[in-house]
Homo-oligomer: 184 residues x 2
C-alpha cells in the first residue's frame, strides 16, 4: 500500500538510528538486515527502498555515529575542566558497558580495518574527531595540540578496548582509572 510521503524520511532515520546502535553493540557481521529492520519497526523487505546494500548502510551508520560524537564533544565546555569531564565520561564504566550509543571507533575500528570499503568513512570520522578534539579543548602548547590530542585519543580508545575485553570487573576498572588519572 502507499504510505504518507512524509513517513519515508522518518523511517529512514529510524533504520539508521537502530542500525548504528546494533552495529556498535554486536558488530557489522553480528547484525542481520532483518534484525536492523525489525528494530526500526519494519519487515526486512523494504530495506532496499532506503539503502542500496548492507555496506551502504554500514557506511551511513559510521557517518551517523560520527556526527553524534562530534555534536556531543561540541556540547562540552571548551575549558580544562570540560576536557577532563569529557575524558572521564569516555573512560567511565557506563561508557564501557553501553556500547550501542558509545564510541564508534572502539566498537568497530577492528572490523573496519579488515574491510577496505569502510575505511574512507572511518578516515573522515578520525580526521574530524582529531581536529575537533585538538581545537575544542586547551592543550599545553598550541602548536602541539594536534599531537597531544592524538596521544590522548589513542590512550582513551585503547583503554576502552582493553576494559571491554575482560570479564574481570576489577581489572576493567583498574585500566579505566589508570588512564583517567593519566589524562585528567
Amino acid at each position: 500500500m502507499r504510505y504518507p510521503a512524509s513517513d519515508t524520511a522518518e523511517k529512514h532515520a529510524r533504520i539508521l538510528d537502530q542500525a548504528a546502535r546494533l552495529f556498535r553493540e554486536r558488530g557489522f557481521s553480528g547484525v542481520s538486515l532483518g534484525e536492523a529492520m525489525k528494530a526500526a519497526g519494519l519487515t526486512h523487505g523494504p530495506f532496499y527502498n532506503h539503502f542500496s546494500s548492507k555496506q551502504d548502510l554500514m557506511a551511513a551508520c559510521i557517518a551517523h555515529a560520527s556526527a553524534q560524537s562530534l555534536a556531543d564533544m561540541t556540547s562540552v565546555e571548551p575549558s580544562v575542566a570540560g576536557k577532563s569531564s569529557y575524558i572521564s565520561r569516555y573512560l567511565s564504566p557506563a561508557h564501557c558497558n553501553i556500547r550501542g550509543s558509545g564510541c564508534v571507533i572502539a566498537a568497530l575500528a577492528a572490523e573496519i580495518a579488515r574491510d577496505p570499503s569502510m575505511k574512507p568513512s572511518m578516515t573522515q570520522h578520525l580526521r574530524a574527531l582529531i581536529e575537533k578534539f585538538a581545537s575544542h579543548f586547551p592543550w599545553r602548547a598550541k602548536r602541539d595540540a594536534r599531537r597531544e590530542a592524538i596521544q590522548a585519543l589513542s590512550s582513551m580508545v585503547g583503554a576502552l578496548v582493553l576494559a571491554r575485553a575482560t570479564d574481570d570487573e576489577a581489572l576493567s576498572e583498574e585500566i579505566l582509572e589508570a588512564v583517567t588519572a593519566q589524562l585528567t
Copy 2:
C-alpha cells in the same frame, strides 16, 4: 585410512598456527572452519578430531597467540633501550600492516567484547601481558610500574587500532609516530 600416530600432534599445531593467523587477519566471523583447515593442508571434515567446536578453536587461538606474545617480550633485553625498542616495533608500520602475526588484542578484542565465552581467555592474556610488561622492563618508580604499564599498553593498542582503521597512510603514520614519541 590410518595415519602415523606422530602426525596428529603436528597437524593439531598446524591448525592452531594457521587459525591464529587467519583469525587475527580477518576476525573470528571472517574465517570459516573450512578455510582454517585448508590453510593447515587438510579438508574440513577432521576438524572435530582436533577441536570440539569453533569456539573451542577460538579460545585455543587466543591462548596460542598469547604465549607467542609473552615469549616475544621475554626475548627483548629488559632495559630502558629494550623497552623503547619493543614499543617502537609494536608501533611500526610493519606491525600495523601485518595483522596475522601481530597483537591479538588490537586484532580481536572488540569481537571478544561481544562474546562472553571468549572473555576468560582474553582476561588471562591481559593479566599475563600487563604483569610481564610491568615486571620485565624498568619504569620510573617500582610501585607505579603496573599503572604505567597499563597506561603504555592502552596507548599502544589504541594507536594501532586507530592507525589500522584509516586508509590515509599519512594519518596512520602520524598516529604511530605521535604515540611512539610519547612512550620512548
